[in-house]
């Protein structure tokens, strides 16, 4: 944690009339990290992003991007940050290449350098063949890739992608995510991406923040997220053994930390608070059953997400 954070939010709030879009959000993102901002539609993701770019003023709280305050100095921030909006648009009557060159001109990049860089980036996002076609003829996936190239024209230190995978076919998503990961790994660019599609984010993010109703409910890698959200059943251990009978079941349930045991197709799922795999295997072996398989099931974001929202009503009731 020695390196200064590239993006730092502290108690950030934004209210529209009575509606609180962002509620005391604190977050810090390190250099070179891929951070996924995860939440359902209307959670305040886009508002947060706009505040980072200085396109919307926060009601209260502090934002620092690359050490710069976007409220006071938005242009300086925009020099360092590339932003891909969720429904990125291009000038239809201009070709893909011309669109990139226009962005370069707005960034004050000299023409010759801009052209060289545009071709490099077009090759990177695999649009070389379509470079001279009108942007109006591009498919959604192509537009998103051109958007990524567009964002990279100014050689940003940070890129912020708002719902980058929305409306693209699976192959396109895979391609786009691979590109984003490569950028982060090879060029050290910090990436912040927002999404409501969990399995996309899960694949490439170093850290994820779960963002609901303007508040950050949990953050960390997938594992920590699970722990923060489900204090009770943080781990699920899948056991396949023979025979699995009632006495064994009661023994396992007696292990401290185990909450419940559920029957699945080929064995049992043991829900527990801490990782008690060792105790479970020992119990099974001591009882004389033969253990075929024992594995800790990792939570996917999908599951975290699903279980979070499933349990929301219960929690709110409390």
């Amino acid at each position: 944690m020695a390196a200064p954070a590239v993006i730092e939010l502290d108690n950030l709030c934004k209210t529209y009339g009575d509606h609180r879009a962002v509620d005391h959000l604190s977050l810090s993102i390190q250099k070179g990290e891929i951070f996924g901002l995860l939440g359902p539609n209307g959670a305040g993701k886009t508002t947060t992003i706009l505040m980072m770019l200085g396109l919307t003023e926060p009601t209260s709280g502090m934002v620092r991007v690359c050490g710069i305050d976007p409220v006071r100095n938005p242009i300086e921030v925009k020099r360092k940050v590339g932003y891909l909006p969720d429904d990125v648009g291009f000038y239809h009557h201009m070709t893909g290449l011309e669109n990139l060159l226009y962005t370069a001109a707005l960034n004050g990049i000299p023409r010759a350098e801009a052209e060289k860089r545009a071709w490099e980036l077009l090759e990177k996002v695999d649009l070389t063949d379509a470079a001279r076609k009108k942007a109006g003829t591009y498919s959604r996936g192509m537009r998103q890739r051109l958007g990524l190239a567009d964002v990279l024209m100014k050689r940003p230190e940070v890129i912020i992608l708002d719902e980058p995978t929305l409306g693209i076919d699976p192959e396109g998503v895979r391609e786009l995510l691979r590109l984003i990961r490569d950028l982060s790994r090879h060029e050290g660019i910090t990436v912040l991406l927002s999404s409501h599609q969990l399995h996309h984010v899960q694949k490439i993010c170093d850290r994820v923040g779960l963002f609901v109703g303007g508040r950050l409910l949990a953050e960390g890698n997938i594992e920590r997220l699970a722990q923060q959200l489900f204090l009770q059943d943080a781990y699920v251990i899948h056991v396949v053994a023979s025979p699995l009978d009632a006495s064994l079941r009661s023994k396992i349930e007696a292990i401290p930390g185990v909450n419940k045991v559920e029957q699945t197709e080929d064995g049992w799922d043991v829900y527990c608070q801490t990782d008690v795999s060792a105790a479970i295997s020992q119990t099974i072996i001591e009882s004389g059953s033969s253990l075929f398989h024992l594995s800790r099931r990792d939570f996917g974001l999908d599951e975290i997400y699903h279980r979070y929202f499933e349990g929301r009503d219960v929690r709110e009731g409390q």
């Binding site: 925009k78 648009g89 001109a105 960034n107 100014k154």
Partner: protein, 361 residues
């Protein structure tokens, strides 16, 4: 002693290095600033260039410009034939023509088949302005390019300023070249060169046209900021244009009919006062202001734009006004037109700067 000296020396050195570092930093800072300013300028000119290219290649503009060229040259042709016929009829006419600002008649004369150049410009100019402005901001918003544009390191007002400057530039080029072409054709066909005064009047007329079109352009831009749909903004601008061009004068006339012929008028002062009120109402319309001022500019015989009593005209020599006096005559009108234009732009600018930039919203 030695130690003390070295201390002082060190201190002096420190100060020196501080000063040096500061001066270097200042120099670098100044350089940075210059570089940045140049970058900003190039960004602004990039926007203007792109917008100009967009206008010049869009079908909408090509059709409108073709329409304007066609109608203007049509009206010029009729004006020329009328004037030439008059000139050819006798030798004396030529002599009279030299003193009668014949050249300016090119813009105002018509033989009844086609309206004059002036009428066409006052009719089509606003249309051109509206066509240039009505989708300036909302089309960017609807295509999703506005948020991308806003994410670039440019001040927000560059977008709206750039569009305005590009549209104005296009208008300036179009109307100045049109005006100069008319002059050239006039010389060729009529064989009479314009005097300097006529030339100055023509240039002022063209500038006035530019201001008038800029007003409608800014109205279009204002509506493009206010309304999210391009069609709504186009129709609203057209509605305002129709209202001022056709209905406003009708409404004022209806009001004037009862107001001026009322039995309540007892004195001359009251009659004049009421007449002036009606005129003042008329002058709220930008198209009325434009017509008044262009008429005064192109017809030096127009001696006043207000009401004149018989006593005031008594003893006046019926001669055309000199250019400076005509200019003085239209000064308030021109000022009002420019003010209206600026107000429109200021409101559009203010609204745009306060508006939330959202990709979808």
């Amino acid at each position: 002693m030695y130690v003390k000296a070295s201390k002082e020396e060190r201190w002096a050195n420190d100060v020196f290095s501080y000063v040096k570092r500061w001066s270097e930093r200042l120099k670098v800072g100044a350089l940075d600033e210059k570089k940045r300013a140049r970058g900003a300028n190039s960004a602004f000119s990039a926007i203007v260039k792109k917008e100009l290219a967009d206008y010049l290649t869009s079908w909408r503009m090509i059709i409108l410009i073709a329409l304007i060229l066609l109608t203007c040259f049509g009206s010029l042709y009729t004006a020329m034939t009328t004037i030439r016929d008059a000139l050819d009829s006798s030798e004396e006419a030529k002599e009279i023509a030299k003193g009668a600002y014949l050249f300016l008649k090119l813009f105002t004369v018509s033989d009844g088949t086609l309206p004059s150049f002036l009428t066409f410009v006052s009719f089509l100019g606003p249309l051109l302005g509206i066509a240039l402005g009505f989708d300036a901001i909302n089309s960017e918003r609807n295509r999703g390019t506005l948020s991308r544009l806003m994410a670039q390191p440019i001040p927000r007002d560059y977008v709206i300023n750039g569009k305005f400057v590009a549209a104005l530039l296009l208008n300036a080029v179009l109307f100045l070249s049109l005006g100069l072409l008319v002059m050239a054709l006039g010389i060729l066909v009529l064989g009479i060169p314009p005097t300097f005064e006529e030339f100055a009047r023509m240039v002022c007329f063209l500038l006035l046209c530019l201001v008038y079109i800029a007003f409608w352009l800014n109205l279009g831009i204002l509506f493009s900021v206010v309304f999210r749909q391009a069609a709504t903004s186009a129709l609203s601008s057209m509605a305002v244009w129709l209202f001022f061009n056709l209905f406003y004068s009708m409404i004022v006339e209806v009001f004037a009919k009862s107001f001026l012929q009322s039995d309540a008028i007892t004195s001359v002062e009251q009659a004049v006062g009421r007449q002036e009120l009606v005129l003042g109402l008329m002058r709220l319309s930008p198209s009325y202001l434009f017509n008044e001022s262009t008429t005064a500019l192109l017809s030096p015989d127009v001696r006043t734009l207000g009401i004149v009593t018989v006593e005031q005209t008594a003893g006046a020599v019926a001669a055309p006004l000199p250019f400076s006096q005509s200019l003085l005559l239209i000064w308030p009108q021109a000022t009002a037109l420019i003010a209206a234009t600026l107000i429109c732009f200021a409101v559009a600018y203010w609204l745009f700067m306060r508006q939330e930039i959202r990709a979808s919203g």
